[in-house]
Symmetry: D2
Subunit: 338 residues, 4 copies
């Protein structure tokens, strides 16, 4: 940790701070410059954080040096983690495709879509029972009934399913019925939910928040890991920027960055990341090319009638095309298509 | 609602869509142009949303005309709402100041700070018992014990208190102990929490999310209002932008915009909105000048030792100065200082 | 164009506006609703813009329907344009790679790097003579001397070269010496420069500004096209967002979006788009996968000593690896590597 | 400057870098930690920049400590600068109001508006002759003829005028005719233009770019100052964010931040900063309250007919109201209204 003092800070202030650093058993350093005094402190940044030096009126800025997450970091865990979502391995040699409707609307809709997902060759199923919606007047999902439909359909077609959980009290019931818990962008910093998911034994697909820096995402993963659940899958799904041509800006830089810093597998959601059906296939291919471990896409038996996110849902024939185009691409990248 | 068809859309598609609009009892309009056909539909936008025309493969874009919120809108409720947080009226002629530490750390710290808040002349007290923190290794608040301390101190100094609630199951206990529930930026779209707050009888101070458009904020308020709780206070607290000189970018444009579109009172949080102690007083004054109904600021008996957000906390003497400088300013604006 | 009136607008206002629309020879439409009157106007949006209805105090908002660019649009020009930068075709079946140092530093540096670019198999050379730098104290480029070096080296190694032009008065000298003019992100809305480039006969590589929407980029291209130069290459190079882990956020959504809306070829600059050497190769591959017509990357014979942007410059061996990894990838995409 | 090495960096690398730091006459520091080695270098950051340590493959990150601007900094110049724009002092005790149309459209329009500006009591006049416009089909200004009109009208009404300059070759003619050169947001990093303005003897009103950090703005000012022109006025005019309710997000945090870091006067442009007529007055007042030295606002004799930016232009009666409301406000702030 580097501590830059204000120009007007006295020598006493510098001594006081150096003494506080030493009192924690850390190594203090003093670098007096012509314009400002700069102090250093070496050791565990989390111990250093206890000093709360940023609060000091004579401190201009504090610059941490080491990343504040530890369990999510590749430093502590050099090899890639593989998370097993039922029969689907995420993070290994295979490139995973998880597909399904935004929301579970009925048994018939879910079954018809799931059959097409299975036929297309995707390895996992998605479908929302609890839908967080910007407007209170929009369709909010079927809730528990939707969860039951998803469980039944997943079992009938033989695909592991992922579904979103929006409240800590729902973690138990959801974990009992599906192979993977999903935490959505709006809840990425719902820390009570992260802790509850961390206490579950299910894999957790953690989506990046719309305004979350990659460090924030890794710290959110750290909440889950710190509770003892090491089955975390990171997911880039687009951030909010000034661009209005697309619903979000899919930040694919995140993929190689996260793979470099963390051992956790990384998925990409090109459906939310673009919000536009025609852009989903190209961006799914881009995700594969920059090193993602898979994609999660929205597909609906009949997008025209979808109760939510129809504008970004693929038609079943589009999913077939996505799989057909991904196959040679992932082969060229030295991977297989799960 | 305006519906722009793709250039390749046939006349049949236009007719089909017009028929669907009519089937909902709404008035359809057809505007054939040289490059594209544009359709219109007049009536309640929420009914129109059921058509989900954005899902249609021949629809290029859908442009809503009316705002999707209704109860929060000034259209439906032309006069300013005043929300009563205990003895403190928010939204009337008086300019409200709510102050206190980021977090309740102990009875001694809370009491000492609250006494200074009362002496400075502020009308409300703040203090966090449940703290949402980016890192799992940071101080997470005292929880229920913090809530009890806040209740006791508020009663002893005679100030109504606001505190953050982060889970729907905590709404009841918190509402029983403080005058105002606060929903933080990270939970602005935690819809389960919004609904629970809407079912409570307490005023709700709703903070804008870091990536929330003003329309999203009004829709979040609509969730609370739709549950029957009309005591909602909106709060601008800074959004996330590319600027790194300040912790957030305080969007004061939001104040006159929200006052124009909505009848709900609007507060500003210059502490989180800047993240820098030296900027809090100027921005609190700016908030008053552009029409905010008050400010909520962080003050700590000893910011150097604050367990969270010390860098943006005022010293008690700074709060005195803020009140001293606000007084002539709000008088010049034709208001009083609560 | 859709014109939404304020709730308080009278019938006279509506009539007045409809008459103005008609006076321009356009077709007016009136859609009276329960809460607001909505007007429509059909015809050339550029003629409609003359009405300046957004200025009217009784107009709440104006929503254009058609895109304001025309020459850049695929509507007017359905087939892909191919721009010939000397021997290198950009926009056809081949995927183009343009490489070279950020800045021309000396004949020796430029020659050594160009030889390696040629050996690696790239089809074009880049190198800056006029460098726009954020700080006045940073290296500003060799100017005219740099231009002469670039011309000589390009001729010696047999590669067409692109270089940035920063002032309209330099367009002539630069066009006389290199195969392609480059307009940088900071000058994307330097309209005098765009016009000067439009009057030149050289291809123009136009980079997206850091805060430019895709529509702004297409309008900037329109400036060049409107002057009679139809050899425009669009280039995505990252936008400025809240994320600080990378220098910019490379917006690859832009690639399929631009290819869909415009006939112009689209390149991607993963060097500026990430600012991090280790991310350049994965993002170049992602660019290919989502449909870009090529990439422009920074490579330096010795990045450690580069006078600018060394942190994002590839080593020559990295460029070899990029070409080696791109080859099977673009083959799987049905393209060849130029 | 702090240099963080990669975990895999050897001791030799650290020694090599320390020797390079020493070779420049600077003081090197070595801080070996458990996970990474951190190096320090003390002295002029601009000399340190020559080391280009960020290019080194074994360097993970470089953190500068001192600001890279010097002439613009308050460190070097503790007292507030006052810039004299003809008869109008900007930066002293008085709060300056500069008003006028977006564009000079004709002698009649300019004169009528200027008379109203003078009557309202504003101290300066604005009006654009060279208009940078996003679309090539929009009104581009009257050019030299507009400049002549502005000069004549300014002289007739007795107000100093500011006008935008968009090309370095126009700096001379513009400086000969008006009291203040304006550099617009789109040209804030047009470095050729900044240098030309720096060589002029006229005050320069420098607007912040839409994607410019405050440090970028101060470095742009540094370009002008470094050429020997110390009459620079900074201007906050809104940045581009995800919010679409307003044209830009006016970042008033910038005002106290810039006043603290720099001695240069700071104006605010609430017309571009909001893009909405109804928000201009409240935000002008907010600018005064947080310490701005004045505002520059758009006013048009007849905004309905304005050829550009009419939606954000005040009516003359609105300007009267602005002055009337500012007067008691700036008095309460201890200033006068110029």
């Amino acid at each position: 940790m580097i501590i830059v003092l204000r120009p007007e800070a006295s020598e006493e202030v510098a001594k006081e701070i150096l003494a506080r650093i030493e009192s924690l058993g850390l190594r203090p350093l003093c670098m007096p410059g012509t314009e400002r005094v700069v102090l250093g402190a070496l050791g565990d940044e989390r111990v250093l954080a206890q000093l709360r030096l940023e609060n000091h009126p004579m401190v201009e800025q504090v610059k941490p040096i080491l990343s504040p997450y530890k369990l999510a970091s590749r430093d502590a865990h050099p090899h890639d983690s593989v998370v097993q979502m039922g029969s689907l391995a995420i993070g290994g040699e295979a490139f995973a495709v998880i597909a399904g409707p935004c929301a579970v609307e009925s048994y018939e809709q879910m079954k018809a879509t799931a059959v097409r997902v299975k036929e297309a060759g995707a390895g996992g199923l998605r479908g929302g029972a609890f839908k967080p919606r910007t407007s209170p007047y929009a369709f909010q999902g079927l809730g528990l009934r939707g969860l039951e439909i998803l469980e039944q359909v997943a079992s009938e077609v033989g695909l592991p399913a992922a579904t979103e959980v929006v409240e800590s009290q729902d973690v138990g019931p959801v974990a009992a019925r599906v192979a993977c818990l999903q935490i959505g962008a709006r809840n990425m910093q719902n820390f009570a939910l992260l802790k509850a998911a961390g206490q579950s034994k299910r894999p957790v697909l953690l989506k990046r928040g719309m305004a979350a820096k990659l460090e924030d995402l890794l710290l959110a993963a750290e909440y889950i890991l710190a509770e003892g659940n090491d089955q975390v899958i990171l997911c880039e799904r687009g951030i909010r920027t000034f661009e209005t041509a697309t619903r979000n800006t899919l930040d694919l830089n995140a993929v190689p960055f996260l793979k470099q810093r963390s051992h956790l597998p990384v998925l990409v959601d090109p459906s939310h990341g673009t919000g536009v059906r025609d852009l989903v296939i190209p961006m799914a291919k881009a995700a594969a090319a920059c090193g993602a471990d898979g994609v999660i896409v929205e597909v609906h038996e009949n997008p025209r009638e979808a109760l939510s996110d129809g504008a970004q849902s693929l038609f079943p024939k589009d999913l077939d095309r996505l799989m057909r185009e991904l196959r040679p691409l992932v082969a060229a990248l030295g991977r297989t298509l799960s």
